[in-house]
Assembly symmetry: C2
Amino acid sequence: MTKIETLSDSSNFALGRLRALLDDGRFAADQRLPPERVLATQIGIGRRALRRALEVLEAEGRIWRHQGKGTFVGPRPVDPQTGLEELSSRTNPLEVMDVRLEIEPILARLAALRASNGDVERLLHLAEKTASSSDADGYELWDSALHRAIAEAAGNSLLLAIFDMVDRIRQDVNWQVLRERARSKDRLSRYVEQHRRVIAAISQREAHAAERAMREHLELVRQSLLTVMTRPAQPDGSLSQNDFNDTKDELRHGT
Amino acid sequence: MTKIETLSDSSNFALGRLRALLDDGRFAADQRLPPERVLATQIGIGRRALRRALEVLEAEGRIWRHQGKGTFVGPRPVDPQTGLEELSSRTNPLEVMDVRLEIEPILARLAALRASNGDVERLLHLAEKTASSSDADGYELWDSALHRAIAEAAGNSLLLAIFDMVDRIRQDVNWQVLRERARSKDRLSRYVEQHRRVIAAISQREAHAAERAMREHLELVRQSLLTVMTRPAQPDGSLSQNDFNDTKDELRHGT
DNA sequence: CACCCGAACCAATTTGCAAATGGTTTCATG
DNA sequence: CATGAAACCATTTGCAAATTGGTTCGGGTG
């Protein structure tokens, strides 16, 4: 019923035939249709007209085609590999930061409740590494390890998998430029201090304090990211600052 | 330096040679080593001795091997497919429920702030479907669609991907038995009422109320799961109730 | 007897090639 | 100008041969 007026007579005829075939159930889901050349002769039209009809059906999601494979009934199956890449392309740094701001405070809270003494020791060791790393690259490495160690200490394999997924997205996408611009000696030292507070809360089993400390830390990271992102585009930064505050409030828990 | 005493002379010699090769950097990361047959003749030992040495290196995570592919330097790459299955085998229903209890209230809160009017309409429609579905299977279907619609309305593609990941785990693993036992007419009607409250809060843009309503809903779901899980093993349920309360408190936000 | 080596065999993978298939262009036709 | 037929390109499949790790066996050496 769609796009009939834009299609030629033959294509329209073929479209009707194909719709009938699909509705009849003669072609079950996930089944491969005959090759275009065969199907064209069966229906009695040329390949060009057939392909136009198939394009319509594909756009409707009723079939999917792939070169070399064939034409299949049903929606296009999702490949986890392409799924990740597609996700990387659809998301953006702010979204990732928002998610970190939601997830990692939870992990810090759980870590405060469930971390073993060995976990705490490891966190302290990693915090020391971040503090003593001279160059920004070294800091980045130890910082990443520290955040993951907290996620491990939370003791929930599913949440850990979620953390890893977010982390992979964060690294995969080419926002390294942003991160490079976002790190300065000043900020790094503040990060180190915030890390200390998070780990102190975890070691003292103060769940709420750990959660809040991690949220404060990530808020600063988020702010750094925002200033770096918006500075080149909008030098005065007034609008972007407003936007930042709005979004930040949205993400705060209503307490 | 490890397991030397348990290895024979030739294997030990090969181990040293291989360690030297790997440390030299002559074989970069992800590079394929020569076939075992070649490597054995190069070093001047038999395949058996070589393979024992390779086993040690593989156990240390310095190399990984696969039949037909070869031997490679570095840690074994993670396949998203096997990664998912491995995760399914490592987690358990309670862990999944804990994660839902953390994630979905966030999604409800964001949905209250960002849902379009069309989103709200869709939620209302789905809620009606769950309420009017007669059999438990139908309810399950519409319930799943409703929860995902809320996740979509939150407007964060990464969080949506996380929700889908948790949902896939929840469905993949064979805990359907539990879910079947956990659903009764009584509980379902309470769920429907809780859904109404969540959606009402979203439609009225009351973020905190939406978050709390969703948390209350999932707590009831969690409790149903727990009673079903523990009832067969411990009929009186006293210990399991304590365990439930402990874990529930751990997961509550400290306010 | 313990250990090693070589060989053979098994299982999984890669490679090379032909065939199949969707995607595209060309061309003659009415 | 659209149509249909044909030809060509790019990707995939299917198959056989070669490659490679995994395993077993037998002979040799100390």
